[in-house]
Symmetry: D3
Subunit: 141 residues, 6 copies
Amino acid sequence: MIYLTRKAEFSASHYYHNPNFTPEENHRIFGKCNNPNGHGHNYTLEVTVKGEVDSRSGFVVDLKQLKETMHFEVLDALDHRFLNKEVPEFRTLIPTTENLAISIWQRLKPKLKTAQLHRVRVYETADLFVDFYGEDSQDSE
Amino acid sequence: MIYLTRKAEFSASHYYHNPNFTPEENHRIFGKCNNPNGHGHNYTLEVTVKGEVDSRSGFVVDLKQLKETMHFEVLDALDHRFLNKEVPEFRTLIPTTENLAISIWQRLKPKLKTAQLHRVRVYETADLFVDFYGEDSQDSE
Amino acid sequence: MIYLTRKAEFSASHYYHNPNFTPEENHRIFGKCNNPNGHGHNYTLEVTVKGEVDSRSGFVVDLKQLKETMHFEVLDALDHRFLNKEVPEFRTLIPTTENLAISIWQRLKPKLKTAQLHRVRVYETADLFVDFYGEDSQDSE
Amino acid sequence: MIYLTRKAEFSASHYYHNPNFTPEENHRIFGKCNNPNGHGHNYTLEVTVKGEVDSRSGFVVDLKQLKETMHFEVLDALDHRFLNKEVPEFRTLIPTTENLAISIWQRLKPKLKTAQLHRVRVYETADLFVDFYGEDSQDSE
Amino acid sequence: MIYLTRKAEFSASHYYHNPNFTPEENHRIFGKCNNPNGHGHNYTLEVTVKGEVDSRSGFVVDLKQLKETMHFEVLDALDHRFLNKEVPEFRTLIPTTENLAISIWQRLKPKLKTAQLHRVRVYETADLFVDFYGEDSQDSE
Amino acid sequence: MIYLTRKAEFSASHYYHNPNFTPEENHRIFGKCNNPNGHGHNYTLEVTVKGEVDSRSGFVVDLKQLKETMHFEVLDALDHRFLNKEVPEFRTLIPTTENLAISIWQRLKPKLKTAQLHRVRVYETADLFVDFYGEDSQDSE
């Protein structure tokens, strides 16, 4: 079993707001992230897949396929977008880094064929990142 | 003469659009940056000042003052903002990295007392940055 | 279950010395880290918490609380300090990166309320870091 | 149980080719990595060991020994080499990042005495890395 | 006058050898870089152009054109190549980082139209880089 | 004319204090850097030399000599030291990043033979660095 991780970047904007909160609650809980005009980030995405090494190619996964899947399923949908307005799941879901990692997992999981999705890591800034291992992962790493 | 550089980061969103261009021109020239909903970046700002070292303190500039000036004049105005909508100069000026560097220079220049502003560098992403040395700088890096 | 990591930096000095070792042993085992005047590092701290995402906020943890806890419990105690002289546990414990990670875990663990502390990572330099998952963690990364 | 990771870098060249593939298959599967003249990378190696902290030294592993083992067993063999031609296992094995991580594990495992090898991570570029936890590791990160 | 810099990466292999040196001289001057099988690097290229900001677009240079010029003139020629064997100028010229920076300048200079080439920076590793400002630059950074 | 830069790192501790200041002045001007026990940093040093490329070697400077000069003249003197106590010039001079850059210039300048010293850059942290081009440099970066 070997783990391979590929990084990619995308730039998007978002804001945090819960319509069920009062304005005071939204301001207290979300601070300046509550600004409805949005603000943005250069997100860094790390996708980790795991599997056995194919003895003929030496690869655990076809790197070109992995790159294309990341582009078609994630980057094309999120890059240069206002997440709250233009990405369907974030019309109702707050686009925190946590929810972004879960959303990216759900976009990638059904599309990866040869290797198994192990982890989605999303950096919002250099100082803050989130890891998701799938809904049914046991409590590991 | 010695040069001191301090970094800071801010997150903002923007889009590129010239109302005098046709939609086709806006699309051709600005590509996906033309999306009016905006997209965002973690900008990195580097401010370089120059001067003589004060023999009593060993400093070319009061670091606390420099940090505060950067916060009050730049970060408070730009961080977590949609530049086109919320920053006055970008209501008419296109918020490219070039114009952002010039705007930051103009915000900082009159506020720096002890040391002289030498350069403003703005990274839009890790792979793209702009340097500005002032309107009346001769052609030198 | 989702994991969120926040980074912070602090600058401190330290030296390595065991009073029960002979001078030769101290020198052989600790090399130039045995210099009693101390030397220093820009430490990078990564604190990882885990938990369920709160469906109302989209957060696994209140980021502002996490940041404040890291500041009050760790940075205020260690930043700009000579660890051996000014931090109580390192009067007797050698302030290696290993012991620093354990100490930071012990400082943070009782103070984190909403999310569970998962990992403390401490970088002494860019090329050396230590991970601690708690005293009673099973052998898992 | 504590985990300590040390980084090192080496520069090597390689190419990907399976003599049992047709030229078309080699080209389709390996793309420009199939160029027999080779191309190169600055590889970054992270070696993680785990163990109990020695209460006398505060160390989980003798850092100098770990550094020397990494140099003698890995860097001396791989640095400034054409992997396919000069490193015995890659005369037959394709030197992908996956196989490189496994090879480095096998080189280090028998030589580490005081602490236990936990993980070998190899970055081929900043955007692609592989983790290996040993042949008999259960499926855990 | 404003300066814009764009980064790109390429992976190549090379070795250092002067046929007019004796084997002893080649070994003494070039050390392990003299290995004729070659070794490789992930080179990072930074291209800086300068000019006035176009008031209609806010750009000093068409970023898409700059990116394409860097790809067609530099990356397509050097990426995944053995420089000594596959890049014409390095059949006779030793492919040091210095000569690589000069060669890239000469490849880019005649192809850049709207903005003026100011500097080519080439990183061979994170710890070593070279800057070239053109043959006829006065002695200025 | 070509410019070559080599990086190195060292870890040291220091504090800021002027015996001619009152305790209040020392505290106000130097803040927590005034702690006499010292605190420390992982300093990053960048040394830039300039010259013509030697057509026989392709080098502007003998890299091995440059590395050795940096080690003997700078790293051996500063690494793992308490600057105020153990480095002669800092018994009287305050070891700010500014003075450190000047001191390193003075240590290196007389020892570099084949290429000319152009710039010394010292990073105290990732967010703060100083450049020095020599006492008699005209006002140019």
